[in-house]
Amino acid sequence: MLRQIAIVSLLNFRNLRQRLWPSLVIVAGMTCVIGVLLSMLSMTEGLHQAYLNSGDPRNAIVVSRGTIWEINSSIARDKARMVMDMPGIARAQDGSPIADPSLMVGVPSWLKKNGGRTWVILRGFGEKGAMLQPSFHLVAGRTFRPGTHELIVGSRARFQVAGMAIGDKVILPDGEWPIVGAFATGDVRDGQLVGDTETLMLAVRHKAYNTVLVRLASPDAFATFRRALTTNPALAVDVMRLPDWNVKASADFSKFMHVIVYGVGIILAVGALFACFNTMYAAVASRGREIATLRALGYSGFAVAVSVVLEAAALSIAGALIGALIAWSLYDGVQSGFASDVFTLIVSPSMFGMAVLWAIAVAILGGLLPSIQAARWTVTEALRAK
């Protein structure tokens, strides 16, 4: 049986040249579908990876219970102190916990490229702030002095957002804060601002921190830390590993983007499926005599049917790979931004795999009916066909 399938398929591919133009419809169709799909996915995937990478896995974040957005979380000063005394937190050389209560403020800003409004996140750093974020380093100017109205800007926000160059002033309550330096972390935080937590809290009149960031003593210490926090009746907080939290924070946006991206992809794929169906239908019809001859020689209907689907699959996989290559060459590694999040677009190998799977699905769905027809033709009927 396998031998029959192989022989019939080979025969198909040999005379594919005679059916070149109609066959290209399948290739071109899948190129469009996958090209568009992967171009759009490069953005959602890039954003996902950026969020995943922007949290040091050795860190954990403590937020008030049930919080969805970091900016809505609220941890009072005394509770923050309790959190920082819990077991499971790494200690600095002087014995103090490596933990930093933090604050977040949205600063309304405008993108340079088209004047679009966005919110740049201004994050407070305490004395342990930089220690908790090893990728954080200064690239220009100097860092802010604690207790003063000074800010430092992420390396991407510095160039992509209006009014964020070193020396510019950012409007905050009780006056404008000058930007005195620029930092880089290599992830989404490059689109943010950083200032001194306590000074910032006074300015924006917040009575509580948003979150507490802690360095875990060891990877296993997370369980200890969580148990200590969740069993303490005086605290109403949730704790997560930082990468998990970042992914959760972007989950709603991811879902939103995925509905759009896959919605468009599926609509296009249905169009490609019809094209595939028509092409294979015509191919089978034009090879009526050839198929009849094969059947008369003793080849089974099943072998003929499989060979039709295989042909469709080969064509549509070729199209999908071309589409994926186009998307990859245009977008992989390109710097992009959404609102104040900056990230790199990604067309990953797994997305190539997905493209092939989509191609196979389209080929099977589109080639199935024509292949059944090919298999069900009786020899005499097919021989009479023109």
């Binding site: 403020v105 009149r205 709603d252 468009v264």
Partner: protein, 387 residues
Amino acid sequence: MKYLPLVWAALRRKPVRTCVTFLSVTVAFILFGLMIGLNATVESVAQRARTDRVWTGTRFDNAGLPMAVAKRVAGLPGVKRTTVMSYLPGYIADPKNRIFVVLVDGEYGRIYPDWGITAQHWDMLGRQRNAVVMSRKQAALLHKKVGDIVTVISPETSRADGSKNWTFQVVGLGEDISLAPAGYIVGNYDYYDQSRPLADQGKINEVDFLAADPAAATRLAEEIDRLFANSATPTLSQTEASALAISNNFGGMDVETVTREITLAGLLMILFFTATVIAQSVRERLAELATLKTIGYSDAIVIALVVVEAALPCLVGAVLGVTVAAGLAQQLPAMMPPTFGIPQPTMAPSVVLWALISACALALASSALPVWRLRRMDIASALSGRT
């Protein structure tokens, strides 16, 4: 018209092929309708947005602006008329029925004549302290009618007596407006302000004003922000037009270009397909077409037959596709996660017009090659099947 049976016969020759062509064109135009319809919505919102109306709110999410800000703004040269407003966020009966009440002063109706509330209702809002006007959509959603008492529970906003329950009476229903796509509830600012604890009184969320000269509105907005930049409550002012501009609502993404590119990719894919189909159809019928020429049909008519054969599935598919897209657009909000939404695509006349133009272009482009071949056709060899 008398040639229509000929076209019909050509289409019926391979019914499966015709159906599939038609369906795939329909699919491409469903995408067209959703994408270009989205642009149409965005454009109509931007067009309706007024350039002379300016919104001044808090720059940072804290306790709101002091009433004094409104007084300063009202006194600025070039400001024609001001109104103040506050939001009361909360829910009715069940925490999932999130709503907010817009509490306004007597000037609001004059600054927003397009709000959908009649002069009589604005008047009642001013006279009855606990009155609210609901949009029809909102009232239907909450099962409320005129005369009903509604209790808004606001976890964030307490009254002077410590309660978080705010009662209002529905005095009228208003028309829904594009500025408030999810519906609205409008109430009396004085009632709200005087019910708050003394320390919280005299706070507002927004000062809205009309600029005497629309051209000066943006400059006025910037001037106000500069004025309060050094205060305890910096402001964020923008004209309605810029607040509603698309680049301000999609994280700076160029939505129009993206949707056009996606649509174009879809049409391109279908073009490959329809072009092949019509080429196939013409190749199969070369002898017939040659016969038509032999018995005296002019070149033009034979070519027209082919073009119309290509155009029919395209045009019908375009119309059906846009119709289906209109239906799908209604379902779109339900598919999105609750905290995100996109404007609902509308099939404005311009969308339908562009769909028809695209369908014609599709038909012409896909029949170009076969037509070119037909013109060069040698009748004798076509009749003998030697091509």
